[in-house]
């Protein structure tokens, strides 16, 4: 079954995919830097009237918690990556590398860059997990 992106059910399936990934378990094994929040910017044309945050409670190779949060809550995470809907769609489809996206300014990062760089393999594995989720995009 396909899960609508972005939505609560999509995030749950994403969490399940992350936690069944042997690659992420290994590459994220030493991650203790706290939650990462992915923020999808508001875009009324695809039905997103306000920002949506996807809160990933990552700890030592496991996604302990995942939830949809408001922008205000999202900003409390030590790492916040923000992009518009079309960019996140590219990321989920595996068409945009998130590190490249950040370098090109297509995705904005708030948080300690050296930590993100050190866990570049883990971030790639998280993207791989996202692309494995059977996704129905809200604009399709």
């Amino acid at each position: 079954m396909a899960y609508r992106f972005p939505s609560e059910e999509w995030t749950k399936e994403y969490q399940r995919t992350i936690n069944s990934s042997e690659d992420y378990k290994k590459s994220g094994a030493t991650w203790t830097a706290g939650p990462v929040c992915l923020v999808v910017s508001a875009n009324p044309s695809v039905g997103l009237d306000k920002e949506i945050g996807i809160w990933l409670g990552l700890q030592k190779g496991v996604c302990e918690e995942i939830k949809i949060v408001t922008l205000e809550e999202a900003q409390k995470a030590p790492f916040v990556i923000t992009g518009d809907y079309a960019r996140w769609k590219q990321v989920v489809l595996g068409q945009l590398d998130p590190i490249q996206g950040m370098m090109q300014g297509k995705l904005k990062l708030k948080g300690d860059l050296p930590t993100i760089v050190r866990y570049v393999k883990a971030s790639q594995d998280l993207v791989k997990c996202a692309s494995k989720v059977d996704t129905q995009f809200v604009d399709e």
Binding site: M102, Q104, G105, L113, P114, T115, R118
Partner: protein
């Protein structure tokens, strides 16, 4: 016209005669400055066939129109001449503060000709230019020389020093030249050329300013560009982690060469050697070149242990590879020590490290033995013998004297298949970016006019998706391990990157800006009214064709535009390699080259380079 002082100092070291020259306004615009203008001078005025270490080969130290302005990334200058390492056109750009100071002293550049009887240094204080005896400095390393000259000529205001070390004095073919200990013109052996002329250093102090032509536009552009650079993520990565920020990312994308280009990804290496580790363990502070809002330079200290160092310039990404991943050394302190030794000796850490990695592999394969290495056991993972080899190369002792001739020459001497272990193009060792992950970079290595080079073009940024220049026709989503379509990408990247070393703009800053920003920087500085992106790219094409013509006259042919066997061998059964034949074929067509690799007659005519045709003896169309 802004951007120029309209004065080039010419020093004939054989006679001690000084002269002041200038080049025509037209050539300044056609070749922009820096390495482009140097190539024009070299082509027009010198016997390009003379031996690189002979008195006839000039050493040209040139600024560009942007040098010394306050626009971001404009500290740079370039050192040019025939390369002692490759025997073809040689150039090496440098950041720091020497170029800007030279411009403020009222000079666009210095051209050394001839050879001095005894060691000398050149002291420039505005219009006053004097050669001084440097016999007492000969034998000092770069740090000692710099400290001594700064103490002797400081007079309350800092002088800027550009000096060679023991490697340059001993004509190590890949010797570099160091500006204030931290900034190096490392590539193509310009330090050996300086050493051959017995010039130990140039000391400069300037009291003027570099005045842009269009003051008002300059001021608003300055403000906008600084804001833009500071906001960009590549700048933030460089500021926070230095150029070594690329190691973790590069490992992910198969960009990092390991074990002399023979091993696949090793995340343990990048974890220990990358920018974040440097910050955690050894960084004492950041440091900037003149007028740079990025500040990618590292100041480091190894406080204790076998690799203890004083506080000083830290290693760049390339050095963390050559003395780290290339010999499978995980000890970052050891890399810092190697960097200090190379800096002091004045040695290119890329070619120096490549020579040492070659020796390690030859040792492993039994091509050389302990007898050849003066008892050193060159075991992968152990940096200690590499540190000894740096000193032996600089002093030309034992096997060091063989390695000091460069990898190609050393491999020929070792024989028994060693030649196939060398990763170079036209005699210049490849920098630390593996074309098997990024095919466009492979084309860049094959056709760059100074040999394997990642800085004559913007491919690193464009192909890896760190920067995009849509106004030039470049796309934004290139796939690394793919050769189709890369010639077109590379051609534009080259046309954009070449003027970087002529206008003298830092490539890292250009990586944070647009091509339009770059063109605007040149326009407001020089006052060239019609200088836009199209003109910028045309100048890149023109300068490239001139340098290619010089190389053709020096015997370079299509077969020299190649990739070494190792790069054409996959790292794993499922790995892939660049289709260099396809990319070359397409590039030759797009660049307008004939089957021998020379620019065609109509290509030169179209580029406004008719004066090159007769020298190349091109007939017909």
């Amino acid at each position: 016209m802004g951007g120029y002082k309209n004065r080039i100092l010419e020093m004939d070291l054989s006679t001690g005669k000084k002269d002041i020259s200038d080049v025509g306004e037209d050539d300044k615009k056609r070749f922009v400055g820096g390495s482009g203008l140097s190539a024009k001078l070299f082509f027009d005025r010198f016997d390009i066939r003379s031996n690189a270490l002979s008195p006839e080969n000039p050493l040209m130290v040139m600024t560009g129109p942007l040098t010394g302005t306050n626009l971001p990334g404009t500290s740079r200058f370039v050192v040019c001449g025939k390369s002692p390492l490759t025997g073809i056109w040689g150039e090496s750009a440098c950041g720091g503060n020497f170029g800007s100071e030279l411009k403020m002293a009222g000079w666009d550049g210095v051209v050394f000709m001839g050879v001095s009887e005894k060691p000398v240094f050149l002291l420039i204080e505005d219009s006053r230019c004097e050669l001084h005896d440097a016999s007492d400095l000969w034998g000092m390393d770069i740090y000692q020389t710099t400290d001594f000259l700064k103490a002797s000529y400081g007079d309350g205001k800092q002088v800027k020093v550009f000096a060679i070390g023991r490697a340059g004095e001993n004509l190590v073919k890949f010797a570099g030249i160091g500006n204030d200990k931290a900034h190096f013109a490392g590539r193509t052996g310009m330090g050996a050329l300086m050493g051959s002329k017995k010039v130990k250093a140039i000391v400069v102090r300037g009291s003027g300013v570099a005045e842009p032509a269009l003051q008002e536009e300059y001021r608003s552009l300055l403000k906008a560009l600084i804001t833009k650079v500071k906001a960009s993520i590549p700048a933030r990565a460089l500021r926070e982690m230095g150029t070594d920020s690329g190691l973790d990312l590069g490992m992910m994308t198969n960009d990092v060469p390991i074990k002399n280009w023979t091993s696949p990804q090793d995340f343990d290496l990048s974890f220990n050697l990358g920018g974040p580790s440097l910050i955690e363990k050894y960084l004492t502070r950041g440091h900037s070149c003149y007028a740079c809002p990025i500040g990618c330079k590292r100041v480091v200290k190894v406080a204790e242990g076998p690799y203890k160092t004083e506080e000083g310039p830290g290693p760049e990404y390339e050095t963390c590879c050559t003395f780290g991943t290339m010999i499978v050394n995980k000890d970052l302190a050891g890399v810092i020590k190697a960097n200090e030794l190379c800096n002091r000796a004045g040695m290119d850490t890329i070619s120096g490290g490549a020579a040492i990695a070659l020796a390690y592999e030859c040792y492993e394969k039994g091509i050389i033995t302990r007898k050849d290495t003066d008892g050193l056991e060159l075991q992968w993972g152990n940096i200690d013998p590499a540190l000894k080899l740096v000193e032996m190369i600089a002093e030309r002792k034992g096997i060091g004297s063989i390695l000091a001739e460069g990898t190609r020459s050393a491999a020929a001497k070792f024989g028994r298949g060693a030649e196939e272990l060398v990763v170079d193009v036209k005699g210049l060792d490849a920098p630390m970016h593996d074309p098997r992950g990024w095919h466009g970079m492979g084309l860049g290595y094959a056709v760059s006019t100074r040999g394997a080079c990642h800085l004559q073009h913007m491919t690193l940024y464009v192909e890896q998706g760190m920067s995009a220049y849509p106004e030039t026709g470049l796309e934004t989503n290139y796939k690394g391990p793919q050769s189709e379509g890369k010639a077109g990408m590379y051609l534009i990247s080259e046309n954009l990157g070449v003027p970087c070393n002529s206008a003298c703009l830092c490539i890292f800053v250009l990586g944070c800006l647009s091509a339009s920003d770059f063109a605007e920087m040149v326009r407001v500085t020089t006052g060239w009214k019609d200088f836009d992106v199209a003109e910028l790219l045309k100048s890149g094409q023109r300068i490239n064709l001139l340098k290619r013509t010089i190389n053709a006259l020096l015997g370079m042919k299509r077969e020299d535009d190649r990739l070494p066997k190792r790069i054409l061998t996959p790292l794993s059964p499922e790995g892939n390699v660049p289709d260099i034949d396809l990319m070359l074929r397409e590039y030759y067509t797009l660049r307008g080259l004939d089957e021998m690799g020379r620019p065609k007659r109509e290509t030169l005519e179209k580029a406004g380079l008719g004066e090159l045709i007769s020298r190349l003896c091109l007939t017909g169309s």
